[in-house]
Assembly symmetry: C2
Homo-oligomer: 389 residues x 2
């Protein structure tokens, strides 16, 4: 049979250079030299300082006689004023580059501060897609969780503290110059964060696979990440220092990041940004709470894609009706959450009537909603939340 | 069981930005504008001019009032003197960028000419790994075959016409700034070139998968390419204008290219460069001739990896002895070649005693040999060739 139409739409793919592997953290000084950088700021948080990973960077900088500034006061769900503070330190110290050592909060804050170094106005001016005009200073990332993938993505998510929601800033300019991905950094990650960030990566993979912006390249990455997480996360939850499990989880996070950075995301992230910003709740947790119930909401609009996910996990769907196929995937995700002891639900967030309205309004305006298999109305989002609390 | 050792070594990954999809060729003018380029040279060959693809580029340039030069005299297995000629035209016309529209020969020649625009000496000075010092002018590639992947790779292969062998130039600087991959360009590719370049892509995938430089990321790409080629090439050989087959073959070439650009290659390419340069034989043909017999040579040194290839093609190897597993993969490749009517062997090249010596000497010194599962001696390469003629 000769088909005349293309199977694939036109898609763009862009990824940063990255180093992957245990002990790769030692490459930071080499890249500073390669890029001829002489006065970086190291952006990190107190946990990473305690865990010793930031010190490994400081030591390398000292070995090559490089003076550096440090900003270590990033909080979870990084705030717009924190971004401005980092930018102030960068300008004050005349830094020529940014080294971000941390999870998504640290890296997103560092990337957003990079915008403010070379672009006018406030960070709120850059919310949305492709608003950054001037190139940012070089950014070297060392991710220390297995979820955000901010180290390879075109995204930075910053909390607008006046309006209490998370702004999605999306631009090719936000892709770091180099990401150095060392699985060993996960050995000091608290188990609850290992679980929350892995579920964040799973959500990236599932949402990018069913995204309207998916492509055969992002599909490869997404399915690989889903498989790795389903296989490895239950084992890692039982044995969270096992380097082999950590290698596969940070690999899953990497490939999920390459998928969503290029395919974008969907309704889980749109609502998670909104709830996370309003209630200051961990991003991976918000995603994990929503993932299965949004598959239920979306399934009819992307049944073929969701089924492909189940098939890639080894299920034979041939003799199942659509309703049963949907159930199978949803139950598989709930089963994974049970296995790893993740049992928070939307009910636990105790959202009030007025809050649901505000959260729903921000969610429908989130850029991630644009690539969801279906564009829900404000009413539908409110109903969805009300049905699940 | 708790393993303490890493499963993966440290690996680096770098890829250009790329656009993939039918009709993406129309994006050339957008990228010229994005990059603020005003005076490109278009490097192509007479076949592409006839087929009309170069004209689609010319038309776009005229639409945005950009003056351009053209170099259209690239031959198969591009020669060192052709590279110098292109560089001369670029300097003469004061071009600020290079647009390469063609197969591996055109793109490799264009990339090598880029080196000569900003670096001193002769192109022969850049043979080997990481010899390029100064950044090259921006390069936009539009590949028109489904094999070389020069449009995404760190490689440029140029024939040294004095010594009659192909020099491998390997450097991150050789990665184009943007690759625009339009499956439609394959609709005018002669069937024998479709087959030869697809077998080139298959060789990239197999060699990068067993390469000493492979990583979990390049592995994903390599296995995907192998699967796509085995599934699609026999169908495409019967129906070579079917756009769906062409989409999957150029996708296979793309992901095989991302694999080998980062994992490097092996003994097939080392000998293919040597034979191809000496006898001026098409690169994909040389690779296809050698692929199965070099699996025979290499198998014992990378049995586990070769077996993984067979398993990814759906074979159950559980009850097979090592010798039978090897045979299975070799016969599968021979069977694919038979299905698509590729029946050239090393015998057909009629190599003479003295030629075998010269070819073997160049092969052992080729940079691709460094990542072959085993490093053969000069004598072993000679014996290998003699055994197969």
């Amino acid at each position: 049979m000769k088909k005349k139409e293309s199977m694939y739409g036109i898609s763009k793919f862009v990824a940063p250079e990255f180093i992957f592997g245990t002990d790769s953290i030692g490459y930071v000084k080499r890249y500073l030299k390669n890029f001829s950088l002489t006065s970086p700021i190291v952006v990190t948080d107190s946990g990473l300082l305690k865990a010793g990973w930031a010190n490994i960077i400081f030591k390398q900088l000292e070995e090559i006689n490089i003076k550096y500034c440090v900003f270590k006061d990033i909080t979870e769900n990084p705030k717009d004023y924190e971004v401005e503070e980092i930018a102030k330190v960068i300008r004050g110290c005349n830094c020529d580059s940014i080294i971000a050592v941390g999870g998504g909060s640290v890296i997103d804050a560092a990337k957003a501060a990079g915008i403010m170094c070379t672009n006018p106005g406030s960070i709120r001016d850059y919310e949305g897609i492709d608003k950054i005009v001037h190139p940012m200073p070089p950014i070297i990332c060392i991710p220390t969780t297995c979820g955000s993938s901010a180290d390879v993505s075109q995204f930075a998510i910053i909390t607008n503290t006046d309006e209490k929601y998370k702004m999605a800033i999306v631009s090719k300019s936000l892709i770091p110059d180099i990401s150095i991905i060392d699985p060993k950094t996960l050995t000091t990650l608290p188990k609850e964060l290992l679980i929350a960030t892995s579920l964040d990566a799973l959500t990236h993979a599932v949402e990018s696979y069913v995204s309207l912006g998916s492509s055969p390249i992002t599909d490869m990455f997404a399915l690989k990440a889903i498989k790795l997480i389903f296989e490895t996360l239950p084992k890692a939850a039982r044995d969270p220092k096992n380097i082999n499990y950590l290698e596969d989880l940070i690999l899953a996070s990497l490939v999920a990041g390459l998928a969503f950075s290029n395919a974008s995301l969907g309704m889980v992230h749109a609502i998670a940004h909104s709830i996370g910003g309003y209630k200051n709740i961990r991003h991976g947790t918000c995603n994990a709470i929503l993932l299965d119930s949004i598959i239920d909401f979306n399934y009819a609009y992307a049944a073929y894609r969701y089924d492909k996910i189940s098939e890639s996990l080894g299920y034979d769907l041939k003799n199942l009706k659509e309703e049963d196929r949907k159930k199978l995937l949803i139950e598989d995700i709930i089963d994974l959450k049970n296995k790893i002891g993740f049992n928070i639900t939307l009910k636990d967030l105790q959202l009030k009537e007025g809050e649901i309205d505000i959260i729903s309004r921000h969610a429908v305006n989130d850029p991630c909603m644009l690539t969801n298999p279906v564009m829900p109305t404000l009413e539908e989002v409110k109903e969805f939340i009300e049905r699940n609390i």
